[in-house]
Amino acid sequence: VKDILLPVAHVFALVMMVFAATMLAPLVMAVWELDPALSSFVISAFATFFLGALLWLGTRRFRRELKTRDGLMLVALTWVALPAVAGFPLWNFLPINFTEAYFEAASGLTTTGGTVLSGLEYLPRSINLWRHLLSWLGGMGIIVLAVAILPMLGVGGMQIYRAEMPGPMKDTKLTPRIGQTAKLLWTVYAGLTVACMVCLKFAGMDWFDAVCHGFSALALGGFSTYDASIGHFNSIPIEMVLTLFSVLAALNFGTHYVAWSERGLMAYLRDAEAKAIVSVLIVSCIGMALFLYLKGNYPDFSTSLRHTIFNLVSVATDSGLHTQDYSRWPIFAPMWMMFLSCIVCSSGSTGGGIKMIRTLVLAKQAHRELNQLVHPNMVRPLKVGGTVIANRVVFAVLAFVFLYFMSIVTLVFLQLASGLDFMTAFSSVIACINNAGPGLGLVGPGSNYGVLSNFQTWVCSAAMLLGRLEVFTILVLFTPTLWRK
């Protein structure tokens, strides 16, 4: 175990030192505002850096090139350990225990957006900035960021990239070098984020809220600086901007890059996932707006449409910002939104769930099986968007979906055993594993995760990490072969 873990810890130490640098942002904010959280950030930044440096020096003897399993281990280790580090300033400053601080930081890094805190508008600005920044860093992937700025991770980088980027097919790179690909993706991501922030400012937010919500929107995070989330603003332009950027963030960032380099929208039309996502969202929005209007939730259709579009798109893309307490809608509506949150996001996006590409592959596979029953001798490859999907990929997708559902089932039973009601247990696990944010029942948009017990909070934290790393990367830690020499 020592020979496997220590070389990975050596690289992780570097990641920690870089991560300490990101704490400078809230630190500067705290100095600027002279707010009381300053000391917490100073302590955290220094502690993180020195711990990282100590670990780095201590494991220097074990330095070597990373192999496949080291890559997996590095990603898993980073994601499990970093919330503890990131949660430190929160734990130090706020009246919450370690469990809750870990949850809050993990919720940020995994872009879930569920919170245990209330009275968000009264928190120091540095604390809020830190929460949103965590979302943003986790959105495109911490390790991918590290690959982009630390060239020595380039060796074996593909495994790392695979372990962290969502989606079943990650063999096509935008550029030959992994480091460049990572840089490009982060550039597109950062560019869109800035665009979103500027739009939000023009839509009526002040700069601080625009920056925080811009981080949230592009990471599909779901943190807000207000307890009432976007409902606080009650502004149609703000809702439109956020909806637009949530949809963009739910698409493949590789496609954004191609569209940008071609200066045209053809890339989106070639992307089977993008087309499916947009169609599903449009049909669902219109259908559900009608449903809510007919059920009498809203007095007129346009109001119904406005609230449906924002909340449905937000939940479906696993963002989790909200304007209404949709848990009070007729049960069909929030359940449909929960269902969409499982499937809507694209591979290579910042969203969670099983991803649209896997849904398409499974649907086509089911279709193929049915046809095979009618024409037993039929030869038909499985195609998505004109490209043939290898059987190997289909099997991987099946295995993924099985593990995904088994994880949900296991975690829901754990929540039930701990004494939660069914709706809360089920929705908290679904919302966490899809990195969506608020659930229903006790953890609905009108409330937050602060009501859960420590055990239940840990279950949610586990669900978020499982979902963010697409199950395999975490579960592989529990396979005995990984630990054998």
Binding site: T68, V155, G157, M158, D171, P176, R177
Partner: protein, 458 residues
């Protein structure tokens, strides 16, 4: 440099490995076999594209529009040539290198070039390997013989053995031993580790010595390192494949050559194309056959079949039965390392031989020739310097004043037709060809920078 490699065969994979480990190169590999590509991408930091190399659609997916060098290494000459032509016609790719094996194509003057088939450089790995083996046979005792400056200078790798006059003496005594022939020891490897060659360095028994000398002086220097061996006369070649056949036809003029081929039909074809070689139909690992053909009086036994395992075994057998010197063609670098310390005298790695001719094209600056050595850990380069004393960091300077990176030796200067073995007071002039030896390939970039200085001013 953006590079596309077509074909992930032996040569393609090695090329991808060597090219991608240099920071400056962006490598994309195209092949039809998805499995191989996936495996390759797992190990190297490259992009892979699945499909046929000559298809414009596939080339576009590989990013041909912004590519600097296209290297077509598929096993079909026709696909390689067509791919280069497509790349030039549609995308104006600046440099196109194709592997062309068939002599039928390469011997025609005027087939390649502007307004013809758009191949800038053709390489034939089989031809290169054949020439390499032929040179080894010409210099018995050498582990490696590499050409520079059109064959005027050669770099020779040799194992020093007890009995050579220089063994056990300091390096600087070489001049006293052979006043007529000048040579420069570029590197010494002792037990796998590089030892810096200085005037006071002692040559020990078993050292692997690399020296540079004018071609006519090579034999004299080799004699210093180990007892002279008689030139090879009787040669047995196992395997009548492409390399075996070419080698036989090259050697049969001066040597007595026997070629053993397992496949009856192939043996017949080979015998039709050769004039004086005795072609035998049989198994090269058949003891009876080898004994019958007097293996114990053979000077060189070269196992050149497609199967490296068979090559190793038949070479070992031949050695045990009394063949004087045995060589085996081995693809896997790990095997080569294993056996060269054992009973096989020379391991020939086709990729290492071929890769040099590719590397010369990706090097910045005017690099004419690159030879990869010691499984790619070391490198020998021939660089042309341009410019004048102001624009260049080397021109007009004495060799001792040039800041060469660690482990780099400047071995020889070729000025026009003259070969000057480098001494500390030799002054570099414009348009000199310098021959450098790098014991650590990682310093290649520093060397490039040093010599490129002039090029950027022109």
């Amino acid at each position: 440099v953006k590079i596309i490699i077509l074909g992930a065969g032996q040569v393609g994979r090695t090329a991808a490995y060597h090219l991608s480990r240099e920071e400056a190169n962006d490598v994309t590999v195209v092949d039809q076999n998805e499995e191989i590509l996936r495996d390759l991408q797992d190990r190297l930091d490259i992009r892979t594209v699945n499909g046929s190399g000559s298809s414009p659609r596939v080339l576009e997916a590989a990013g041909i529009a912004s590519t600097d060098i296209l290297v077509a290494l598929t096993n079909s000459d026709e696909v390689n040539m067509l791919a280069c032509h497509v790349a030039w016609t549609l995308y104006r790719t600046p440099k196109k290198i194709a592997r062309v094996r068939s002599a039928d194509y390469t011997e025609r003057q005027g087939l390649f070039g502007e307004n013809r088939i758009a191949v800038d450089v053709w390489i034939s790995p089989e031809q290169l390997v054949t020439e390499y083996i032929a040179r080894l046979i010409r210099y018995p005792g050498a582990l490696q013989v590499l050409d520079f400056a059109d064959g005027r200078v050669r770099l020779v790798g040799i194992r020093a053995l007890q009995g050579g006059p220089l063994v056990g003496h300091e390096l600087r005594t070489l001049r006293e031993h052979i006043p007529s022939a000048d040579a420069r020891v570029a590197a010494i490897y002792r037990a796998g580790k590089s030892v810096k060659p200085e005037g006071t360095t002692l040559i020990e028994d078993g050292d692997e010595v690399f020296f540079l000398a004018a071609t006519e002086n090579i034999r004299a220097v080799m004699k210093e390192m180990r007892k002279e061996e008689a030139p090879a006369r009787r040669v047995v070649i196992a395997g009548g494949g492409n390399i075996g056949l070419r080698l036989a036809s090259e050697l049969e003029v001066k040597n007595q050559v026997k070629l053993i081929e397992r496949d009856g039909k192939r043996a017949r074809r080979v015998s039709e194309q050769l004039r004086r070689t005795t072609v035998l139909h049989g198994d090269a690992a058949d003891e009876e056959l080898l004994l019958e053909e007097n293996i114990d009086s053979v000077d060189v036994f070269a196992a050149l079949t497609n199967s490296e395992e068979a090559n190793i075994l038949s070479a070992m057998l031949a050695k045990r039965l009394g063949a004087h010197k045995v060589m085996a063609l081995i693809n896997k670098p790990s095997y080569a390392e294993l056996i060269e310390s054992g009973s096989i005298d020379v391991a020939i790695s086709p990729q290492t031989v071929t890769i040099g001719s590719l590397l010369a094209h990706v090097r910045r600056g005017d690099v004419v020739r690159v030879h990869s050595l010691r499984r790619g850990a070391a490198e020998a380069l021939e660089v042309v310097v341009h410019g004048d004393a102001d624009s260049s960091k080397v021109i007009g300077r004495r060799i001792e004043d040039i800041a060469l990176p660690e482990g780099t030796t400047l071995g020889a200067v070729v000025r026009g037709e003259d070969v000057i073995i480098a001494h500390h007071d030799t002054t570099v002039q414009p348009d000199d060809h310098l021959i450098l030896f790098l014991t650590d390939r990682r310093h290649v970039e520093a060397v490039e920078k040093l010599f490129q200085g002039s090029a950027s001013f022109l």
